[in-house]
Subunit: 359 residues, 2 copies
């Protein structure tokens, strides 16, 4: 071993959901939106002055921040933007989680929280969900160096009512509390109102799900001006120009197109509710989803088997081989047509198993 090899950081690489080259695949594995981005964003892209790419982008991302401010009726000094909500949350860990007490988050949750904690050398403890995967607010009533949880939670899709969210905040006035709302637009109610009420709260959202723009990499956070200033100071201190000029322009146009946004979200919710009936009919059980995916376990056929069989049929869903959730599939809500293909394939696979059992 060479000397410098000793000092290479050891990490556990994340394995993202597969991005198959084959476009015939029914892709229900990464919670992307099945509908294209807003036509208004497309117009902005078409009109984008390409030559300005020779210049550095606006480091303050003004055009985007102001559009988000307008849309959410908030002053722009309460808004921070980053390269996807992963970037925003990682920046939050770096900026706010510097105490010796452990940061708390649910034991079944977005897998990157522990990664960022380790990356930024932050102590953390994972708080147990109840047996139905619900977050127990009381489990967060103890000394900590910060709190983060998704609402709806991932990969369970379970939404927590705002009163409970506020309970957690109220009991943690000495910590920064981050609510990761990547999936909030699919039927939940945002905690954004608490940003005005409590100066220790951050609410994080993203363009990757409800806004159909996972490929553009934009996430944003709402918080008190003091918190937003701290985030910007840290960001500016080490990489001032993260968001490219094109993303700023297209993102801003997409944010302004509320009508298209509402249409897409309504379609996805409708498809999801129908999927719940179909999955129940097929023998699945699942926590009630308020996200754009369903976290489902079949009563008799193991998830790992379903996952592989679906893949053979060109249908990609997500499977996590981890304790307590290793019999679940995370199924993104696609178009009605994609979902029909899924149900048909599931029926075939499950029938095959059942007749195999009888034989």
């Amino acid at each position: 071993m060479k000397n410098w090899e000793k000092y290479i950081r050891k990490v556990e690489p994340y394995v993202p959901g597969e991005q198959p080259e084959n476009t015939d695949v029914v892709k229900l594995n990464t919670n992307e939106n099945p509908y294209p981005p807003s036509p208004k964003a497309y117009e902005a892209a078409r009109d984008f002055d390409f030559d300005r790419l020779r210049l550095y982008p606006d480091p303050e991302a003004g055009v985007l921040t102001e559009e988000i401010a307008r849309r959410y009726n908030m002053s722009s000094d309460r808004i921070f933007v980053g390269v996807g909500s992963d970037d925003v949350i990682s920046m939050c860990f770096m900026t706010f989680f510097n105490s010796d007490k452990p940061v708390l988050f649910p034991d079944i949750s977005y897998s990157f929280y522990s990664v960022w904690a380790e990356l930024h050398r932050v102590k953390y403890e994972q708080v147990s969900l109840d047996e139905n995967f619900n977050i127990i607010p009381e489990s967060f009533y103890r000394e900590n160096g910060g709190i983060i949880f998704p609402n709806p939670n991932a990969p369970t899709a379970l939404y927590m009512e705002l009163e409970k969210v506020e309970d957690i905040i109220r009991h943690n006035q000495d910590s920064i509390v981050i609510i990761d709302e990547a999936y909030i637009d699919f039927g939940g109610k945002s905690a954004i109102e608490f940003v005005d009420k409590y100066d220790n709260v951050l609410v994080v959202q993203t363009f990757s799900k409800s806004r159909s723009m996972a490929g553009i990499r934009i996430g944003y956070a709402f918080g008190s001006p003091a918190l937003i200033r701290a985030l910007n100071d840290v960001k500016f201190s080490f990489n001032s120009y993260t968001m490219n000029a094109y993303s700023l322009v297209c993102g801003s146009a997409a944010m302004a197109d509320e009508e298209y946004f509402n249409e897409c979200v309504a379609k996805i919710i409708k498809t999801r509710e129908n999927a719940k009936s179909e999955l129940t009919r097929l023998g699945f059980e699942f926590p009630d989803s308020k996200a754009n995916f369903i976290f489902a376990a079949h009563r008799s056929v193991p998830a790992a088997y379903l996952f592989e069989e679906l893949k053979k049929r060109g249908i990609y869903v997500r499977y996590f081989n981890k304790p307590r959730i290793d019999n679940y599939l995370r199924i993104s809500v696609g178009t009605d047509d994609q979902m029909k293909k899924l149900f048909y394939a599931l029926e075939e696979i499950i029938d095959g198993c059942n007749s195999g059992l009888k034989a």
Copy 2:
């Protein structure tokens, strides 16, 4: 003070060069390229399938990595890409600089090196340049936890011959040596050949200067497959999707257009060489530049004064109020027309001073 305020990370925010809204300004303050991006990149942008923005981008940035590989005649497992070279270098600090010994870099150099060292809690020592701002290779012949320097150096624009670069590498086989070549294409010779020869060397380049695409945010590093794998592992472990789909497509097309690249670079070099004569005529002294900027001090008129007077005339250059360099202006090389305006304004300001002195 609230309890959580105590745990907010303290940083010194970087103040980037001004990005004036007024497009009439002669902008020679951030070393951008005065020429637009490659027309081939524009075509790729025009043909970009906007709808695919609903999907996550390829986390491996394949299309771009492969084009860079082709252009530099290297295998793609020797190439890492990131969101600007700032992102690439910050990732290098995080990945490779984890020993207890100090990382070494020049005392007058890119200001972000110390910022990243502090960010990632890495010890560092700044090594003195000689009295003419040259890097002294021997000053790097001692125990260290890693080495980084720009070639040409910033903000001096001074290029170090490759034999000296290799001397530094040869004396530091126990460390990772990073050569930051943001400005290499303007007349220097790249250390890329050492990537094959030494497995502890990384060479970092960017799309922001010679490739006219500061607004797209792409940087890249060449290194041995082991180093590139380590960088990718760290990157994937905490943010898999950093480079957006549009940047990948346009960046790849720009990289392929070698003819346009060579034309632009030749024009800038010609303008720079002419600027050297003009600045000498006007009474400036400067280290010989092999970059797209000139770091110049006037024999009688203070830089701070010139900076302010130029700004009044709508001409932006960069001024650093720091020890040893506080009488220098960093002047980006613009178009011939922009430079003419600069010389005219400088002449006016300097004449005004001289006649003031005589009166």
